[in-house]
């Protein structure tokens, strides 16, 4: 780990999604990981040990905050209580980036706690762009939005996901978190070309990349974040790096979480590929 204090104010290289099972190891061994991403929704409680641990991590590492609760794609009004808590969290932890998804989570005030798809139309494009601007105004900072993985399409959809994502960057000044695994999973499930997707993304807006492992089901891919990154996703990642340049990349692993060294090896693989385009 670098001892230069400036390293705490930016991120580069391959970081890890930090989960509670690995906190102790990180505290004890201070591993040479360039940055960590924390799930903001896990630190929304009023107090207690989790937020204290997060602050301790922040003393030694740059962090990013990644959430699932903004529900940007919902027809409900934005949940200002949630955003107020998120704002407090950003003030306490000073993350380099704050990100959430192009998805909806709640409707009529009821939560699904999952990232759900919506049709890509002119209306939803304007609706979500407006909400992103509202969120940014409230938080007093730009956010990154992430492309979701999905298992169904809508009759009402009139543009591709990459056109939608590009459209968002034209209507707002937010940046992008591109999840390569999600592109691969959705491409398989919907039958589009993932390379065409990558080529359509405005490259100067991509500030972070996510990598994770999917699960192969009978006739679709399921985004479990429970495996090592699969070979075709590494290939797509290489193409992404060639197009976007050396982009901070995160390894996500959320189910059947392995030991820390397995995660770290995944990050090292990404790090090697980043160096090749640097």
């Amino acid at each position: 780990m670098s001892t230069n204090k400036f390293h705490l104010n930016s991120i580069q290289g391959a970081g890890l999604g930090l989960r509670s099972s690995h906190y102790q190891e990180v505290f004890n061994t201070k591993p040479d990981i360039p940055w960590f991403e924390l799930l903001s929704d896990n630190y929304m409680a009023e107090g207690g040990l989790p937020i204290l641990r997060a602050e301790k991590i922040r003393e030694d590492y740059p962090i990013t905050l990644h959430g699932v609760g903004m529900s940007l794609g919902s027809a409900d009004p934005l949940n200002m209580d949630y955003l107020a808590r998120l704002k407090l969290l950003t003030q306490r932890l000073e993350p380099i980036y704050v990100s959430d998804h192009l998805a909806w989570v709640s409707i009529n005030g009821n939560q699904t706690h999952d990232l759900l798809p919506f049709p890509y139309t002119e209306f939803t494009l304007n609706h979500i762009a407006e909400r992103i601007l509202q969120v940014q105004d409230f938080l007093g900072r730009e956010i990154l939005v992430e492309n979701p993985s999905s298992y169904l399409g809508f009759h009402a959809t009139h543009m591709s996901e990459w056109e939608f994502v590009s459209g968002i960057t034209k209507l707002t000044d937010c940046n992008l978190l591109i999840d390569i695994n999600n592109i691969y999973v959705s491409a398989f499930n919907h039958g589009f070309d993932p390379y065409e997707y990558l080529l359509a993304i405005p490259k100067d807006r991509v500030k972070e990349i996510h990598l994770a492992g999917y699960e192969k089901m009978d006739n679709y891919l399921f985004d479990t974040h429970g495996y090592q990154v699969h070979p075709p996703v590494w290939e797509l990642y290489q193409a992404a790096l060639e197009r976007f340049g050396a982009t901070p990349t995160l390894i996500e692993w959320d189910t059947d979480i392995p030991d820390f060294s397995t995660l770290r090896n995944e990050a090292l693989k990404a790090e090697k590929l980043i160096k090749e385009v640097t």
């Binding site: 409680a45 107090g47 009529n108 939560q111 699904t112 706690h113 209306f123 169904l152 809508f154 679709y220």
Partner: protein, 274 residues
Amino acid sequence: MEHQTIQSLSELKQLQTAFYEAIFDPKDENIIQASTYIIGTAEINETKRLSIYRDSILGGITTALTHIYPVCVRLIGEKYFTHMVAGYLKKVPSTSPDIGNYGEHLPTYIADFKPARELIYLADVAQLEWLWHKAFNAADDDLFHQGIQPLSALQNIAEQDLPAIKFCAVNSANLIQSPYPIQRIWQVNQNDYQEANSVHLDEGGISLVIWRSADFGMRIDELNEDEIRFISAVLNGASFGDIAELEFTQALDDIVQRCIQTGLIIGFSDRALK
């Protein structure tokens, strides 16, 4: 009829409402309604695509509840717990983006849940686990911002003013009383418990305070009748004068001292004196 456009907020709301209902109340008419929005294929039809999301959503929420209620899961088994949660999800929507807030009403649901009636203690064990979860995530104590005087300032209070003060407990403290030995049931079902794991219901009931100490240690402390009367009054905001009117078998000063020593009482409010 297929829905070919979404051009307004009300149309988006209709779609999302239909989707939500097909997930949480998957009766035929709800599935059919949600399916009108979805493109199915020969390999995976609309219903199957919806069920991918249903499994993911219910699985995610069930996992979160499993982490909050590990002892209940152990007592009734994972399959049975999942089945029970499916009913709970249908009856009690989650209204907070923080999934950690969902599950508050599960103990009440269990109490009314007919198939679990034989496990008469289950609802109380669930309540204990909920209070444990609540204490773990409770706001940190901050005497200054809460307007609480530190205990060291007690010496500045004149004897005649003592009845007006209100003792303050840690934010995380909650009480539970049960006619069943729920603390023992909870203990023997911890992963690291080594001793004999049989508990007899005739061991009798118990009163507990569940709280988090200043060093973030989780505490489940048994209280005698005097202690529970005292802590209960403190948590209800009673003044020391009102508390002194209650009946105790031991000297009230001793009860107060004990609660101060454990760290459960952290200060006092002298607002009534100002």
